[in-house]
């Protein structure tokens, strides 16, 4: 599977918020949390992503 790296510019406060979410059990890593956000946001805003969820 082809993967592409996206480099997000974040400051220490933004990373703190991400790390707090991980500590709260929302995800296992920073990358995983951001990919979860992308999946859920796309499912809500893109018809193609929403279709993917249908059986």
């Amino acid at each position: 599977m082809t993967e592409t790296t996206v480099r997000l510019r974040l400051n220490q406060q933004q990373l703190e918020l991400i790390d707090n979410s991980i500590k709260a059990g929302e995800s296992g890593s920073r990358e995983e949390l951001i990919r979860r956000a992308l999946r859920e946001f796309s499912a809500a805003h893109l018809p193609s992503a929403a279709d993917r969820k249908k059986p």
């Binding site: 480099r7 220490q12 946001f41």
Partner: protein, 311 residues
């Protein structure tokens, strides 16, 4: 502490057109502001009775409760205190405003050519003078019974006042406060339907039933008090001059940017590209992904109003 369900009246008075009254209320007392004839706006200021530098803030109240706070909402103090000072426990009209500033002498002179005219700023200042406050201490008002809105062009407007005789709002003091209602002095504006009418004020001892109408407000370490200030004393002279010993201590400075690498699949990259193509989320893949993450996080986890733009 158990309080009876029966309210005890502490004080009753009527404020006449062109006037206001500074009332010291203790925590747990209730102030009712009541229409005597109807269609009368009441401007309102509020200070911590033991520290006048803590006062009601329209901005934070507007942020948390919108342009028309009503029953169940709080009157918040200004940053960095940011505590609920009073709770609106009853509102029989529902047309309050925290959008418009108080009317002033300048306004009537500028708009109407009336150099000497009743106005909320000067009425407030005169009422507050009883407790040693100055015209500079009058702050942006909470405007009870003021019927306002925003038109399709984004401009604020004043609509016809709908309050009727006997309508009222009730405010429960959550701390000891100086509460100053005044009869709005604007008789040549729509605010009070072009007629100034008296308002009846009643102070009650609050009951358990009154307290049961108040939701639990947040208590956070950022609700600061003067004991946490670097400068603890109130500046007592008017001139501003530099403190030679000053060294800046801003929070979390320097702000340091770092790059977080996120590996996405081809399908995920396609979603990012589609979102980017919409033109709404950012110009690069990284900008889009950052926008997506934070708006998702706000929607899912943030406390309080989201302030999201309409889709």
């Amino acid at each position: 502490m158990t309080k009876s369900l029966e309210r005890k009246t502490v004080h009753e008075l009527t404020i006449e057109p062109g006037t206001g009254k500074a009332l010291d209320l203790r925590r747990g007392q209730v102030l009712r502001i009541e229409q005597t004839s109807g269609r009368q706006c009441a401007d309102f200021n509020c200070f911590n009775l033991h520290d006048y530098k803590e006062f009601f803030h329209t901005g934070r109240t507007r942020h948390l409760h919108g342009l028309h706070p009503g029953k169940g909402d709080f009157l918040w103090s200004a940053p960095p205190r940011e505590r609920p000072m009073m709770a609106i426990i009853e509102d029989t009209v529902g047309t309050n405003d925290v959008l418009y500033p108080r009317c002033s002498g300048f306004l009537f002179e500028h708009h109407y050519g009336l150099a000497v005219h009743t106005n909320c700023h000067d009425i407030q200042a005169e009422a507050q003078r009883e407790f040693g406050l100055t015209p500079d201490d009058v702050h942006d008002s909470f405007n009870f019974f003021m019927h306002t809105g925003i038109d399709t062009e984004g401009r604020p407007f004043i609509a016809k006042n709908t309050a009727k005789r006997g309508d009222y709002v009730e405010l429960l003091a959550l701390m000891d406060v100086l509460a100053i209602p005044n009869v709005c002095g604007a008789d040549v504006m729509m605010t009070s339907d072009f007629e100034l009418k008296p308002l009846k004020l009643t102070i009650f001892e609050g009951t358990d039933q009154d307290w049961s109408r108040v939701s639990e407000p947040p208590r956070l370490k950022n609700q600061r008090s003067p004991s946490q200030f670097k400068v603890k004393n109130i500046k007592a002279d008017r001139e501003l001059y530099r403190d030679a010993s000053y060294r800046p201590e801003f929070t979390n400075v320097p702000i340091q940017i770092s790059e977080l690498e996120v590996k996405v699949t081809g399908e995920e990259l396609e979603w990012i590209e589609q979102l980017k193509a919409s033109g709404k989320y950012g110009e690069s893949d990284a900008e889009v992904l950052r926008y997506v993450f934070f708006t998702w996080w706000i929607g899912k986890f943030m406390h309080g109003p989201k302030h999201a733009a309409p889709a």
